[in-house]
């Protein structure tokens, strides 16, 4: 008996029966939604930090300790942004699309067991329900593509439809192997039927499911419908504010759902030694998700025709063969002894090797003859980068020393030495040095000096032109203003300014300056 029924039975003693019937699902729904949102935020955080580490960056680390509040900050930003509807777009379709894209992702969780009995509704068609519901999300996507009245969106919507329909088939077929073994569509009995994780008993099914699922939730290398470098953001190019937020949330909720389904179908769900079941479940879900963004941070994207070819020529026949083999095994060894996993792994390896030689992408030009060895190498390299020292620094707190010859902003002007010869003004390629001189006791005296640092390009020619060593580049590099006129430096400011001359064109100054910080060699070797 599930937690939900127990709650209902307990409630019946105190409340009228209709309330006892209605309240537990509502409470459960509220708890579930909150939990999903929290996990989704954790996903977003982990992905952003994780990809940062894969790319030897620090990743977001400002909001809260270690940046854990970054998703919250993002959510607040998204909520208060202006909501834009394209003038010639289809208003209602545009408005409804994000909701329709988001809700199915949430509905999947109704049948996902987080532990013994910790399930919203243990439907006996659980997995079928998931497949049916998750096919609804695409309607939202192409409503967005259509409603935006934008060609990029439309291209993206067409790609979506083609991709989803193609990948749904191997996705469903690869599950059937699992269903043959457990003999049930219910998620709970699939978990309970796994004495050996189906990852080992159904290696081929797992691979097909994983790849097709990655395509369903548009993760690299199948993220064609977002394809930032091609169609910019695809279907949500015209969305802003909360509506964009819903798409974003829906995408990660879907990723969470898919990771959970992989964990249930192939990794044994909540079962595991020592730790509490819910924790095991979450560990498995997060590991699946980590693999997903590991792939994202390593691989380029496939092209449309290659994507279709991969689904129809590679995943689809392999999924059929997998069903066939599992069916034969079900007849010969009806209760699937664990020794079978050796045979299944061998068969999977053999089929993959055969298929990579047989399956060609882009006509006859490229073959996948090398069984994904190149991809594996790349994955190994990005994994090693996880342990390298990040190359970015925490800027305002941690500063790098610039070069001794740094040509920074604001020139250093030595009023004592300047003889008003105007050589600097003549040399300046963009004529921004404005000097007026008057005759004084000892030669010329500068009366007015104005330099517009809003236009200066720091070429250093004025410093080189100065015959009396009165002008230096500075080693400062921070100067910002909201008003351009504040960037025009006057004579008085030059006299009063703190003088940090750089050794540019004056190598004799170099000796007493601190050495430049160079990018440190990677820690932990190459």
């Amino acid at each position: 008996m599930g937690i939900l029924e127990q709650f209902e039975q307990w409630l019946v003693n105190y409340w009228p029966s209709w309330a006892a019937y209605l309240v537990p699902p509502l409470v459960a729904f509220a708890i579930l939604s909150t939990f999903i949102l929290v996990v989704v935020m954790a996903f977003i955080y982990i992905e952003r930090r994780g990809i940062g580490r894969f790319q030897v960056r620090l990743g977001p680390n400002r909001a809260g300790p270690f940046g854990v509040l970054q998703p919250v900050a993002d959510a607040i930003k998204v909520l208060i942004k202006e909501d834009i509807i394209p003038a010639k777009g289809d208003r209602w379709v545009h408005w409804l699309a994000p909701i329709i894209a988001f809700i199915p992702a949430l509905m999947i969780f109704a049948v996902i067991p987080f532990g013994h009995g910790a399930i919203f509704a243990d439907l006996n068609i659980g997995i079928l329900y998931i497949i049916a519901i998750s096919s609804l999300g695409i309607i939202g996507v192409f409503m967005a593509g259509w409603g935006s009245n934008n060609k990029y969106s439309l291209v993206s919507a067409m790609r979506t439809v083609a991709q989803m329909i193609s990948y749904e088939i191997p996705l469903v077929l690869s599950i059937i192997g699992v269903l043959i073994i457990t003999g049930s569509l219910s998620m709970v009995s699939i978990v309970e039927g796994q004495h050996v994780p189906f990852l080992l008993l159904q290696p081929l099914g797992f691979l097909i499911f994983f790849l097709a699922a990655a395509a369903e939730i548009n993760r690299t290398p199948f993220d064609l419908l977002e394809a930032e470098s091609e169609i910019v953001a695809g279907y949500h190019i015209e969305y802003s504010g909360m509506k964009f937020g819903l798409f974003y949330l829906g995408e990660y909720t879907h990723a969470f759902a898919i990771s959970a389904i992989v964990a249930i179908l192939f990794l044994g769900g909540w079962s595991g030694p020592f730790l509490p079941p819910a924790l095991w479940f979450l560990i498995k879900v997060f590991s699946v998700f980590i693999v997903l963004f590991w792939l994202r941070s390593t691989l380029p994207r496939l092209r449309v025709d290659q994507l279709m070819g991969f689904a129809w020529k590679c995943l689809f026949p392999l999924a059929l063969i997998n069903i066939f083999i599992t069916g034969i095994e079900a007849i010969i060894w009806p209760n699937f002894p664990w020794q079978l996993l050796i045979l299944n792994i061998l068969i999977a390896a053999l089929l993959i090797v055969l298929w990579s030689g047989f399956f060609r992408v882009a006509g006859e030009r490229v073959s996948f003859e090398r069984y994904g060895r190149g991809i594996a190498k790349g994955l190994a390299l990005t994994f090693r980068h996880l342990f390298r020292h990040p190359i970015t620094v925490q800027y305002p707190e941690q500063r790098l020393t610039p070069s001794r010859r740094f040509r920074g902003n604001l020139l250093v002007w030595d009023v004592e030495r300047c003889n008003g010869c105007r050589a600097c003004a003549r040399m300046c390629p963009i004529s921004i040095i404005d000097i007026e001189t008057a005759r004084g006791d000892k030669g010329l005296v500068v009366e007015r000096l104005e330099i517009d640092f809003g236009r200066c390009m720091f070429c250093g020619l004025c410093v080189e032109a100065c015959p009396v060593e009165a002008l230096f580049m500075s080693r400062d590099y921070e100067k910002a203003s909201y008003r351009r006129e504040l960037l025009v430096m006057k004579k008085e400011q030059f006299v009063a300014a703190e003088k940090r001359p750089s050794a540019y064109a004056y190598p004799e100054l170099e000796a007493e300056m601190p050495p430049q910080t160079l990018l440190a060699p990677p820690k932990g070797g190459r």
């Binding site: 470098s229 091609e230 496939l302």
Partner: protein
């Protein structure tokens, strides 16, 4: 049964993440297949060639930084060589070596940027880009050490370079060069055998050698088509005839070859830098040339093998302090002219990748 279809026209750019600046392509699609494309440029036109006519020869050096801003050193080099040809100035030997070191480092930095951006266009989520930027960053550090800037160097001067290298430069350069080969191997490991990369780039956007020559394409693009043409060998300038290096050439002239040639050129460039470092003589780095130079009447052309191709400066002097005519033979612009031929018949995603593999810099295309 013929199906009646209707072409769709899509505008790419000038604001688009993969046009590497403000470039615009008007592409006509049939489904996802490109049937026509019209490159439109000029959004970054600043009139540098005209501006240069009212600046002195020295004042023009910072302007050349802003042509191909990813390879400022090479631009500096080509320009000062043209002025030196015009005025007949001899350059001290140490300066020549320093110029070669800078130009080759610049080539590595520019190729890193080109390959990184190409892979980004292919859809790799910034990871190769970040790895390559890491090494580019080290080169920029070296440049900053020498001339105080990280992007617009203004380092070369007519008759030499603006100042000698600081003493910590050579050890830092040596460390970088030693590391660099290992990092190039890492790029190979990450990418060269990646099946998706192969599928996306092999056979895509083939540029036949004949078309490449007829269209006056130069640089890695030409060599990827199998033409062994490198001005460092064909018409040696500076001290390039003293170094031992190979000219990598591709076989098919497809996107993969263009990628591969760039990676190999980085290897060769490290070789050149290593040799230049060993042979570096002592002495002056700048000939005695006045800052305001008045070359005799006449004209001069100087060309170098810039990272993106043959970069030439044509100067006409009328005996005044400013050039009478200042013309840039920009490799980016000329390489870009074959874009339409490469893209026809390919898909939308390929057009982006082919465009990325040409490696242009809009600052140089529009000038």
């Amino acid at each position: 049964m013929p199906l009646k279809t209707e072409p769709v026209m899509i505008n790419f750019g000038p604001q688009h993440p993969s046009t590497h600046g403000v470039f615009r392509m008007r592409i006509t699609f049939d489904g996802e297949v490109i049937v026509d494309m019209e490159p439109i440029f000029g959004y970054l036109h600043r009139g540098i060639e005209k501006l240069a006519e009212s600046r002195t020869y020295t004042q023009n050096i910072p302007y050349t930084d802003r042509l191909d801003y990813l390879a400022s050193m090479s631009n500096n080099l080509a320009y000062v060589m043209a002025v030196e040809n015009l005025a007949g100035i001899a350059v001290p030997e140490r300066a020549e070596y320093l110029r070669v070191i800078m130009a080759e480092l610049m080539r590595i930095a520019s190729h890193l940027m080109a390959v990184g951006a190409l892979l980004n266009d292919m859809g790799a989520f910034f990871t190769p880009f970040m790895y390559m930027f890491r090494e580019r960053e080290k080169i920029l550090d070296l440049f900053e050490m020498v001339c105080g800037q990280r992007l617009t160097y203004n380092y070369m001067r007519i008759g030499g370079v603006s100042q000698d290298i600081p003493e910590e430069f050579l050890p830092a350069l040596k460390r970088f060069i030693d590391e660099m080969l290992g990092f190039i191997d890492e790029y190979d490991q990450l990418l060269a055998e990646n099946e998706i990369l192969l599928a996306r780039s092999k056979g895509v956007g083939i540029l036949p050698a004949e078309l490449a020559i007829n269209a006056s394409v130069s640089g890695p693009m030409l060599r990827a088509s199998g033409v062994k043409w490198d001005i460092r060998r064909a018409d040696p300038y500076s001290v390039y005839d003293r170094f031992d290096f190979e000219i990598p050439t591709g076989k098919m002239g497809d996107t993969y070859d263009r990628y591969w040639v760039r990676i190999q050129e980085m290897r060769q460039s490290t070789r050149v830098v290593k040799q230049a470092m060993e042979q570096l003589p002592q002495g002056e780095v700048r000939a005695k040339v006045p800052l305001t130079l008045r070359p005799p009447k006449g004209e001069a052309y100087a060309r170098i093998e810039a990272p993106k191709g043959e970069l030439g400066f044509y100067l006409v002097s009328d005996d005044s302090a400013n050039p009478y005519r200042f013309k840039v033979r920009a490799p980016s612009l000329i390489n870009l002219t074959v874009l339409r031929d490469l893209c026809l018949g390919w898909k939308l995603a390929d057009a982006i990748v082919i465009f990325g593999s040409i490696d242009i810099c809009l600052g140089e295309v529009d000038r």
